[in-house]
């Protein structure tokens, strides 16, 4: 309604002023809702034939018209607007939710499709919707943005990545990370390209979409596009983006301060307490306000026949723990050109990425809780003080003394050629080479309490190298047949070869700490195994094809098939076939829907079924009876000699994990303001890989990797977008996603392998809890289910009343997997200000707060530190694992809050864009969880033991960054 009023007003003004028509040169800039210039937008004068202009690379236009004329500004995919002609206009176009489906091109693997033609469940995220603020790893861009895609940041360390899981995951023992495809190259590191370069990410969620990637598609596929296709008009850009960020730890453990400790000692008359007289806070001594900064500079040139883009990023990220930091230098150069009368297009690109970081020794998190709070960090002479005792090494010393320098170089190069053979028939060949190198040095000096001292200094260098060579080639046939039929066919072959190799050397017994790890020859003690090298290789060969048929833009059908052969598979299952089929029906294009045209813009029903695989869990050579070094033996002559023996139980039946998935989806948009999708899915994974315990005897090794179990995930996902306000001065968009997943392990045994429950969630390493497990993987329950005793209260003596359950088998204590995932983002602009708020949450999961379990021991007092509330809990005994320490892990995090200001007339400074912004991250986390942070890391992204907070949490930062975007 507001919009109509506005138009009416504009028209009125136009009429009034039309009386005394004078010539006017109307100028202005057309931008999108995030103030990015729209290049190539059409500006026409209403009622004046032939008068019009196209915006240039700065989004600017200039045309001659009369005073009071009305301009109509249009751009494909955006809502057309009319404004009064004037000088220096700034015209904001908002996206047309309805139109987008027709115009948005979605990567589907080995080609693209119009969003409106899709039959599978594919979510697309464009750059402007991705996470704001500090990005240290590319997957963070998607956190909270896609329904069904759960991303957990593994820790607050600057070098930490995140684990990604789609629709509950499909594997107990292998990574649940999706396959990443960057510019058509599958299986590459998601960090191979700079976040700035990413134009869009398409997430293939269901099997009918992902099956084109066969044995690697079961966890979904993220298709990342950085290619920028040139249009009819020439575009040149030059940009600088930079920020400075300030971060502090969002939360600290509530340990006793020195004064609280003294208070309890006095109050309780503790005779054995040793007051060392200091009041240093060990957490404070380790924490700092971290200052990070990042700079990105890029320029590009694009037109239809050629283009290039160059970009370079430097990032210096400090962690909130002293000394923890990561530096990144990343650069990319991409170019394309057409030739042979436009029939041939070549794309080439190089991405290089150099990371170096200093990780913290994670043992500091436990040590800082063990130290008596009155013990000083430093001796009067400035050296580190050392409290006697076990596991009480000064955490500040531990954090300071060692030199742990890690470097990673990523390199990705590709060349791609596309040839139009005849009309509609295209041949593509894509060759790529990826290399990831790690190069680390570690030195523990002679005075280091842990390890270094007893070994007289210990130095290590390690080098690892991973290469990924691929050749993919395919034919595409895309043709509109007659008026109503559209056919798209694709068939191809792919060859992939991975090689990993590396070596390392370590030595101890140094006379001086001066060399660090730079002169290992100076070490005097040398042990067997101190030098080593390794190498392995895997090959994956595939044939694949896809047929897509659309009739009258109403009925669509897609079928895909892929045949994958992997060297990792056992002899009995070298090749697997992965088919899929899906259908879609665009209901709103039916004649009988004419009545709803007024409000229902689009309604599309989709249904699909497909089979995908996951081969991540199979290491190289796992199916073979390999023979390796089997210990060393002393010969009769007194010399030691290596021995060789079989080193694993071979399994010639080893194969991929297979997931069959049904998906029903509904896309809708209505009132031109509200759009969304609803997805329902059922995933059945079979042949789950697990390292099964096998009987000893007859097996020499206690385990064997085998495909045995089954698992089911079902759920729904709802994505909603609401363009709440669209006026010239104010826009407001709300995007929300909601997903629910229910997981159940349906089978763990077969004729050959039997498991009643697989032990998971190890508590090993906690005092008095060696070889104990908190979780059991059991049929009928999700992975990550806590099992154990219930605490029925605390008795008069302060002991836990432990109920071990029937037959001492424990009780079901809940699952660590969230039932609900929620994402919410609100963005908008008012005049020259823009803002966005984004948050995400997970609900229904349990966390074992093992950190609290250990620290909730009143007997630690007074020798060691203890949680404040443990002192008053009335409990007198050492902690026992029970549901007493299992907490509700639900949370909602205010992920980021950004406020930006764009200079209204940047051209006055000769610029095309100048924007300043402030972003706050992790400003608020709503949760009842008592630990440091409810987002507990998922080691290796496997399903086997999530949800255990065990002194492994690098504190999550709260960050405020100030940044600038300049377009030259």
């Amino acid at each position: 309604m507001k919009r109509y009023m506005f138009l009416l007003l504009a028209a009125l003004i136009a009429v009034c002023q039309g009386v005394n028509a004078q010539s006017l040169t109307a100028t202005g800039t057309v931008v999108d809702s995030s103030h990015e210039p729209l290049i190539g937008a059409t500006v026409k004068v209403v009622g004046q034939q032939g008068a019009g202009a196209i915006t240039d690379h700065r989004g600017q236009f200039s045309l001659t018209t009369t005073q009071g004329a009305t301009l109509e500004v249009s751009y494909i995919g955006y809502v057309t607007r009319q404004v009064k002609a004037g000088k220096g206009l700034r015209i904001i176009l908002s996206e047309d939710a309805n139109m987008l489906d027709e115009t948005v091109i979605v990567g589907v693997g080995y080609g693209t499709m119009r969003k409106s033609d899709l039959t599978g469940a594919i979510a697309s995220v464009s750059a402007k919707d991705m996470k704001q603020g500090v990005i240290t790893s590319t997957e963070q861009l998607l956190q909270g943005k896609v329904a069904g895609l759960s991303i957990v940041q593994s820790s607050g360390a600057p070098e930490a990545g995140a684990s990604i899981r789609l629709r509950g995951g499909t594997s107990l023992s292998a990574s649940n990370g999706p396959l990443v495809v960057i510019d058509g190259i599958p299986g590459v590191d998601i960090n191979a390209v700079q976040p700035h370069e990413i134009v869009s990410m398409d997430i293939l969620k269901d099997a009918s979409a992902a099956a084109i990637y066969g044995s690697r598609g079961a966890n979904g596929v993220i298709i990342i596009t950085t290619n920028r296709q040139g249009g009819d008009s020439e575009q040149n850009t030059m940009q600088y983006n930079g920020y400075v960020a300030f971060a502090t730890a969002a939360k600290k453990l509530d340990l006793l301060s020195a004064n609280q400790w003294r208070g309890y000692v006095r109050e309780r008359g503790v005779m054995t307490a040793n007051d060392y007289g200091a009041a240093d806070d060990y957490q404070d001594a380790l924490l700092r306000t971290a200052i990070s900064h990042a700079h990105n500079f890029s320029f590009s040139h694009a037109k239809k026949t050629s283009g290039y883009r160059a970009s370079i990023t430097y990032q210096n990220n400090q962690g909130v723990i002293e000394r923890s930091n990561m530096n990144r230098l990343a650069g990319s150069l991409t170019a394309y050109q057409t030739g042979w009368q436009g029939r041939l297009r070549m794309d080439e690109g190089i991405n290089a990425n150099f990371d170096s970081w200093h990780p913290v020794d994670s043992r500091i998190f436990e040590r800082m809780t063990n130290v008596n709070p009155t013990f000083p960090v430093h001796n009067p002479d400035g050296s580190f003080a050392q409290q006697p005792g076990v596991n009480t090494e000064n955490p500040v010393e531990l954090n300071t003394n060692r030199s742990d320098d890690q470097k990673r170089h990523r390199f990705l190069a590709y060349a791609k050629a596309e040839l139009d053979i005849i009309d509609g028939l295209k041949y593509t060949v894509n060759g790529s080479y990826e290399q990831n190198m790690t190069n680390n040095g570690l030195y523990k000096p002679t005075y280091a309490r842990l390890e270094g001292q007893s070994m007289g200094g210990w130095g290590q260098r390690t080098y690892g190298n991973y290469t990924n060579k691929q050749l993919e080639t395919y034919l595409t046939f895309d043709k509109q047949l007659a008026e109503l039929h559209r056919l798209n066919l694709m068939a191809g072959y792919s060859y992939l070869n991975n090689v990993y190799d590396g070596f390392g050397a370590q030595r101890s017994g140094f006379d001086t700490d001066k060399f660090l790890y730079n002169n290992l020859a100076a070490g005097t003690d040398f042990k067997q195994g101190d030098v080593y090298s390794y190498k392995g290789e895997a090959t994956l060969i595939s044939f694949f094809g896809r047929a897509n048929y659309t009739y009258a833009d109403k009925y669509m059908a897609t079928a895909t098939i892929r045949r994958d052969g992997s060297s990792r598979f056992g002899d009995n299952h070298k090749w697997g076939v992965f088919p899929s089929v899906s259908l879609a029906w665009r209901i709103t294009n039916e004649p009988f829907m004419a009545a709803t045209k007024g409000w229902l813009d689009n309604l599309k029903l989709r249904a699909g079924f497909g089979i995908t695989g996951n081969q991540d869990g199979i290491g190289e050579y796992k199916s073979l009876p390999t023979i390796g070094i089997a210990g060393i033996t002393k010969n009769a002559d007194g010399t030691w000699k290596n021995t060789y023996a079989q080193n694993q139980n071979p399994n010639p039946d080893l194969k991929w994990e297979e997931t069959a998935q049904w998906n029903i989806g509904l896309d809708f948009s209505m009132f031109n303001h509200l759009h969304g999708s609803l997805e329902l899915y059922l995933k059945k994974t079979s042949d789950l890989l697990w390292t099964y315990p096998v009987p000893q005897p007859p097996y020499p090794f206690g385990t064997m990797l085998a495909n045995v179990g089954d698992m089911e995930n079902k759920g729904f996902e709802l994505t909603l977008g609401y363009n709440a306000i669209r006026t010239n001065d104010l826009t407001l968009d709300v995007n929300a996603s909601l997903s629910y997943n229910h997981q159940e392990i349906t089978k763990l045994s077969n004729d050959q392998y039997e498991a009643v429950g697989l032990q998971a969630g190890s508590l090993h390493g906690l005092a008095g809890m060696s070889n104990m497990y908190a979780q059991t993987i059991r049929e009928g329950y999700p992975a990550g289910t806590f099992w154990g005793p219930r605490c029925r209260g605390i008795d008069a003596d302060g002991h836990y009343i432990i109920d071990k359950g029937p037959n001492d088998e424990g009780y079901y204590l809940g699952s660590a997997q969230p039932k609900w995932n929620v994402g919410l983002s609100i963005s908008g602009a008012y005049k020259d200000f823009d803002f966005s708020v984004a948050g995400y949450g997970m609900f229904g999961q349990k966390i074992l707060n093992a950190t609290r379990m250990v620290l909730f021991d009143p007997n630690r007092f007074p020798a060691e530190n203890v949680l404040d509330d443990a002192m008053t809990s009335g409990i007198t005994e050492a902690p026992v694992y029970s549901d007493y320490f299992i907490e509700n892990g639900s949370f909602f995090r205010l992920q980021s809050l950004t406020l930006g200001y764009t200079l209204p007339k940047p051209e006055r400074l000769g610029l095309s864009r100048l924007r300043f912004y402030v972003t706050g991250e992790n400003l608020l986390c709503l949760t009842g969880y008592k630990g440091l942070d409810p987002e507990v890391q998922i080691p290796d992204n496997v399903l086997s033991d999530p949800g255990i907070d065990k002194f492994n949490s690098y504190p999550r930062p709260r960050t405020v960054s100030v940044g600038i975007n300049i377009g030259f």
Binding site: I541, G628, G631, A645, Q646, Q696, P697, T703, A863, P879
Partner: protein, 496 residues
Amino acid sequence: MALVSCTDLNETLYDKLTLDDFKGDKSSVLAESFVNSAYATLRGYGAGTDEGNGVNCYPTCEYVFFTAECASDEACIPTRGSDWYDGGRYQQLQFHTWDAQNDGVTSVWRYNFVGVSKINAVLSQVDQTNIPAAAKTSAEAELRGLRAYYYYNLLDNFGNVPIMKDFNTDKLPANASRTEVYQFVESELLDVIPHLSADVIYGRFTQNVAYTLLARLYLNAEVYTGTPQWQKCLDACDKVKGYSLEGNYKANFFIENEKSNEIIFAIQYDHAQGTVGNYLGSMSYHYNQKYAFSPEGNWQWSGNGICAQPGLYSSFEAGDVRRNCLMIGQQKSAKDGSNVLMDNGEPLNYTEEIENFTNAKQNEGARLDKYEWAVNDQWERDNDWVLMRYAEILMMQAEASFRLGDTSTALNYINRVRARAGIEGLTSLSLDIIDNEWKHEFVFEGLRRTTNIRFGTFYNAWWNKEADDIDHHTGIFPIPQVELEKNPNLKQNPGY
């Protein structure tokens, strides 16, 4: 990219071998290494290895040794606060209330059966190589001898275990009776002895080792089968040649104990060669023992665990050099001779007494101080682990002779052992006296449980232990629950 490779999925191995690499190997270097690999199995496996599979299986330490020791009357692992509770594992061993879930029991099973399976695998591999027939025969004899050693342990600890002679992973084995296992060990040893080396070769399975093992088998035959074999024991002992008692008892436990002339069979260690599992000392001394051992206080970490049961220390005569295997009293700083303190400020003064087994003080219990330590010890120690030494032959001869009624011969043997220990000879004997001598001579050598059982004292009440059930089912351990679950053909031992 050549088109020929376009569907080639063969795996190329770069840092591993396959059996094909051993075929046609005339030099037999690799084939010999197969046999040698069986000796490497003696050192056991860590919990993190595929063999240990979650349970430490070190014969020197956690938990194979711990289990043997804690079930006997000489050692225990008291619970000290929350330390060393570990799910009640060690309390069960102390109270003789172990169940099939006890990791210590699992460890003993796993250590020995992994050894058996690995040797069976090696036997089948050696068979497929092309080494000369004579070399093959002697290799097989050595391997079968080592397998018999593992089977002797299984016979002693579990009794009714499956007999596995072939490397066949398709069939799940079923239990054999204890008598059958006894007969298997006996016949295997008798079978291979002619093909074993008659020389004294340190650390290898020779005829001497086979005879010592045979003597051990016969010494305990009554426990295993109901029929005593004292004479056979004596006969086997007589075959052991080439060894003598070391003048210094402790020389058997030196870092360089491979020089001992007394050791018949040992597991060899050298940390520089990457051997693992040998860190018993660190499992016994108090955390702050490092200040007594090294002026800088940088001796290896130690964990304040296993110690002697009260009464053991005082059962030794004062002049008995073997009493030094127990560490007791105030520890003095290696730097300045001052008293080493515990973290609570109290002096580190090891006491014989342990007031409360389930919540012991840090300094309670005499410590195991048998194997030599050095200031520059690494975590992995270099002392070889003694499995058999000549004193055991003498003690077996003494006991078997006495049991056969020949007290004077028995006295002759036992007094040789006592003389070396620096204590006076005996003039009369009883089973109790012999039992006591076994206890002192082999203190903390892992033999005590077997000896307790042979003398029947195993089932009696002792310090912090009530008398065992009348059915004496505790004389063998239960078959580990994890194995029963994986193999339906296995039957649990009676009484569990």
